[in-house]
């Protein structure tokens, strides 16, 4: 006798944006699986055409309210590549600092509000607060510190106004940054506690053999700049992106799927960064990771929550270091003059690599644009995780299975707004 | 340079209201409510007819509202409020036992003292009767001091009339000549139909020794004042009560300016003679 099941999640919760999952099962076999992104398309690549190169950071920030700094940074990197300008070290440091703010805010939100409730069996962070008020309050405070850092440097936390091609409009004063130190020091300890707390969550046994792709920089745990590397031999500059990666368009989704040419799926995000750049974490972050039971790589996607917490420790330490060594740059930005050229830019958004490519004309007008956000890159990997996760677990009730599958999606902290520039989960059992 | 005109030390905030408890609430019309307020800090709130209070609703805001009670009975504060927006809606939603803030009284009232030995003609339109009610009550108390006391009152429909009990009593009283008119009326209506201006011609008073007090919508006040003037009432013997936005009632916020005057200080009651020019300027 065959058992046929359909599981459908029409509207995935606790992800940024609108998506769904549809799964068709025949016995233990996955017959059909679609991770759908129905967030309406907004056509950013098209509407960028004809805009001035200097407008790209502000316009592309509107692709995603959760990680605007990532968009602004990748856009700046690409435009600076096109214009052929180098960003001096002090301004790079400031970029890194504001980016730390975004990591703190985004990871804080995901760990405490979006992901932890899955492990502890709550519908959401607010419901969790009823039983663990102090914990949730700490999560909020931690996240707020990230937001505050972005506000001081960027003017506001969502769609900051201070980032521009070439650097910043205005650079902060020493005293503005010093005022952040006490909070960041508190945050660092709170992040350490976070690692210890999440390391005790119940994790399913589930390991996958991913091709991890992340940005790598010889001098630092890569955030705002670097080359693209993988554990299977990729090591390219951002400009070679189109040689290695491609995007395909599937019928069920408003988001393009990115893949490695010929090889297929790959995995970007905290686990990729951690596994590829472990050596460059601070010793405290490494020690906390080890204490939490992680080795130098992590291949259980459910444990990404620990990796995010480790990255929180890192981000706080890094922010403190950057503030400690801050010297106000002479000029807030270097001039970028347009020229007819194409530029590529990558940076590590909280969810993984964010790639931008622009072609501009001699007047500085954008001719074409391509934006590949982390969630598009992880789509195949997410679908594969789901396929692999099901065998041996089909005895579970629809409800439990559905919850666990949703959780498997949330492992990626998918950002659907990004992916469409992109969830409903449906499982059908035949 | 050191400013010695004012004493140093802590001064109370003049914007601070005092708590008043609603004792009673009557619906005058579907959107207009009369409240009787009890001062929770002082036994009395003395005022002059035509003055107003700033009434505060928790979390919503503060608005100027005329005092509609009897000046001889200052133990309670009576207000009639028409719900037209954020604060007035909130006030009208309150009931007995609720507490509001109130500060005042503020402003220049009706010149009832100046009118002694003369004819006192009071003309009201719609809710404009609220600020005039204290003048009517004062006029009745001091009836002997006036040659005559007339109230001409117009409203859109009989339902829109305020103080219906008062009106019936006044109608029956020999001390006051009351004429009431409405724009539209059902068949059982006891008063007139037509504009309030049409009542002026019929009322018996001696224009040259008349003081008129007028309150209603601005267009109505202009029409009434012109009619009174045409009958021979001196323009500076016609008083009107003007309305402008007010936030402080102390002369600080600047909002109640009407040309050269702050209505919170030189108004709300002003002389028509002085304001006729300004009233004809658009958007002043």
């Amino acid at each position: 006798m065959h058992s046929e099941r359909d599981l459908t999640v029409d509207y995935l919760a606790r992800v940024e944006g609108e998506g769904a999952m549809y799964l068709k099962l025949q016995d233990d076999e996955v017959v059909d699986l679609q991770f759908k992104i129905f967030e309406p398309p907004r056509f950013f690549e098209a509407l960028l055409a004809g805009r001035r190169f200097s407008e790209a950071p502000d316009i592309t920030a509107r692709i995603c309210g959760i990680c605007p700094i990532a968009y602004q940074t990748s856009a700046c990197n690409a435009m600076e590549d096109a214009a052929g300008v180098e960003i001096p070290a002090q301004l790079q440091d400031l970029r890194r600092l504001i980016y730390c703010g975004e990591w703190i805010e985004s990871h804080g939100l995901h760990v405490y509000f979006l992901h932890a409730p899955d492990f502890l069996g709550y519908a959401g962070g607010i419901e969790m607060a009823a039983d663990f008020p102090d914990l949730v309050r700490n999560g909020l405070r931690l996240k707020k510190i990230g937001n505050h850092l972005m506000t001081v440097l960027g003017g506001r936390e969502i769609h900051p106004v201070n980032v521009k091609v070439g650097g910043f409009f205005r650079v902060p004063t020493r005293s503005e940054l010093d005022a952040l130190v006490a909070d960041l020091e508190w945050g660092l300890e709170a992040a350490v506690d976070t690692v210890r707390w999440v390391s005790e969550f119940p994790f399913p046994d589930f390991e996958r053999d991913y091709e991890f792709v992340a940005v790598h920089h010889p001098d630092e745990y890569a955030i705002q700049r670097g080359r693209i590397v993988s554990n299977r031999g990729i090591d390219i500059g951002p400009g070679q992106w189109p040689d290695i990666f491609e995007e395909e368009h599937v019928e069920w989704s408003n988001a393009l799927h990115a893949r490695i040419k010929e090889r297929g799926s790959y995995h970007v995000g905290p686990m990729a960064r951690y596994s590829l750049n472990f050596e460059q974490l601070t010793s405290r972050a490494q020690a906390e990771a080890q204490r939490a039971g992680l080795g130098p790589t992590c291949t259980n996607p459910f444990r990404s929550v620990i990796v995010r917490a480790v990255e929180l420790v890192f981000a706080f330490e890094e922010a403190l270091r950057l503030i400690g060594s801050y010297r106000r740059p002479e000029a807030p930005a270097v001039e970028a003059h347009p020229r007819s050229s194409t530029g590529h830019g990558v940076s590590e958004a909280p969810r993984g690599i964010l790639y931008h490519r622009y072609a501009m004309d001699g007047e500085g007008l954008i001719e074409s644009a391509q934006i590949v956000p982390p969630t598009s890159q992880n789509q195949l990997s997410i679908e594969e995780d789901l396929r692999d996760y099901i065998p041996g677990r089909t005895h579970l009730s629809d409800e439990t299975l559905q919850w666990q599958l949703e959780q498997a999606i949330r492992n990626y902290d998918p950002c659907i707004s990004c992916a469409t520039h992109f969830l409903d989960l449906s499982v059908e059992r035949i | 340079m050191t400013q010695t005109r004012v004493p140093t030390g802590t001064m109370p905030q003049p914007m601070r209201p005092r708590p008043f408890r609603i004792q009673d609430r009557f619906a005058e019309t579907p959107d207009t409510i009369t409240f009787v307020l009890e001062n929770l800090e002082d036994p009395v709130t003395p005022f002059r007819p035509g003055q107003f209070m700033m009434i505060y609703v928790f979390g919503v805001g503060e608005v100027p509202i005329s005092i509609a009670g009897n000046p001889k009975m200052p133990h309670n504060l009576v207000h009639t409020v028409r719900a037209v927006g954020a604060v007035t809606d909130a006030i009208c939603a309150l009931g007995p036992g609720d507490v509001v803030g109130a500060r005042g009284p503020y402003g220049r009232g009706w010149p009832v003292d100046e009118a002694t030995d003369r004819h006192l003609v009071i003309v009201a339109g719609g809710v404009g009767l609220a600020p005039l009610r204290p003048a009517v009550l004062e006029g009745l108390t001091r009836r002997g001091e006036y040659q005559s006391l007339t109230l001409l009152y117009g409203a859109r429909t009989p339902t829109d009339l305020l103080y219906k009990q008062d009106l019936l009593g006044w109608k029956a009283s020999p001390d006051i000549d009351l004429e009431v008119t409405v724009d539209q009326a059902p068949t059982d209506w006891w008063g007139d139909v037509g504009m309030v201006t049409s009542l002026i011609g019929r009322a018996s008073f001696q224009p040259s020794t008349t003081d008129a007090l007028v309150c209603g919508p601005e267009v109505m006040m202009r029409a009434v004042a012109r009619e009174l003037r045409d009958r021979g009432v001196a323009v500076d013997r016609i008083s009107i009560s003007l309305e402008r936005n007010m936030k402080c009632a102390l002369g600080f916020c600047g909002r109640c300016q009407f040309g050269s005057d702050f209505l919170c200080k030189s108004g709300p009651v002003v002389s028509y003679g002085q304001f006729a020019g300004r009233l004809s300027v658009n958007e002043l």
Binding site: A13, E16, I63, G65, I126, N162, E247, H249, N254 | -
Partner: protein, 257 residues
């Protein structure tokens, strides 16, 4: 606690930033969750409580047939409906398609345009259903969001001034950037609410809160041209996150000709 008002948060075409603003109210969030019942807010919680809802916050613009119908249903289930953010109040940046040929747009982005169903236009929610209050901004201000939610809880009108950004800029004490540095600024015709951030960070306001209560956009445009701003840049400046707002659109169209 007796009946708490039910709050729902809905999403249409948008970046999620405005609803994230609610989660960014770190100091108020838990108190808010006590004052209201968060009945529908998928970005924050799986749990769904059936309508009707006392207050619906709607983010995003209408860009698909499906969404044009969905907003009708939401309106039907909502006692009060407040739109949040430039997408919902003016069509957002995606309203730039309203000047373009959408099929061309689709083929620029997607390899298989036939998979994509979308409307020709991106339009504000108020073009489709009655709206009780529009909260502007790209993104909205947290402070104003709390004010609006609180005002609906207490049935009072939100205190959200509609005057120009200049009022906040002067209160903040920033020397006007257009006057002191000839930097084109949309502040004088843009609604306050952000706290006049841009000029404080040494750049001109780019109009993300949309037109102010009585914007003389043409007057400002003429002044910009005297400052040497090319007309094409003027048009671009008016065509960003509130491009489809009538007061901005009218002037950008007249300069675009």
């Amino acid at each position: 606690m007796n009946h708490r008002p039910k709050l729902a948060v809905w999403k249409f075409a948008s970046c999620d930033g405005c609803q994230l603003s609610l989660l960014d109210c770190e100091d108020e969030l838990l108190a808010l969750a006590e004052a209201v019942e968060i009945a529908y807010f998928p970005e924050a919680t799986k749990s769904v409580i059936e309508g009707p809802y006392d207050l619906s916050l709607v983010e995003g613009s209408i860009t698909t047939f499906h969404d044009a119908n969905r907003i009708l249903e939401i309106r039907g289930q909502s006692k009060a409906l407040v739109t949040i953010g430039a997408c919902a109040t003016a069509g957002g940046i995606q309203a730039l398609r309203n000047w373009a040929d959408v099929s061309a747009f689709t083929s620029i982005v997607y390899a298989e345009p036939s998979f994509i169903s979308t409307l020709e236009t991106s339009t504000p929610i108020s073009d489709h259903v009655g709206v009780d209050f529009e909260l502007r901004g790209c993104p909205i201000s947290k402070r104003q969001l709390i004010e609006v939610v609180d005002s609906f809880l207490h049935q009072r009108r939100p205190n959200v001034p509609r005057h120009s950004v200049c009022v906040e800029c002067k209160a903040r004490g920033t020397p006007c950037i257009m006057v002191r540095a000839k930097v084109p600024c949309l502040g004088p015709v843009t609604q306050a609410g952000c706290g006049a951030i841009c000029p404080a960070y040494d750049r001109g306001c780019y109009g993300c809160f949309g037109p102010s209560e009585s914007p003389n956009v043409r007057g400002l445009a003429e002044w910009w041209t005297t400052l040497g701003v090319p007309e094409v840049d003027l048009v671009r400046a008016l065509r960003t996150f509130n491009a489809w707002a009538p007061e901005f659109r009218e002037v950008s169209d007249s300069y675009a000709q």
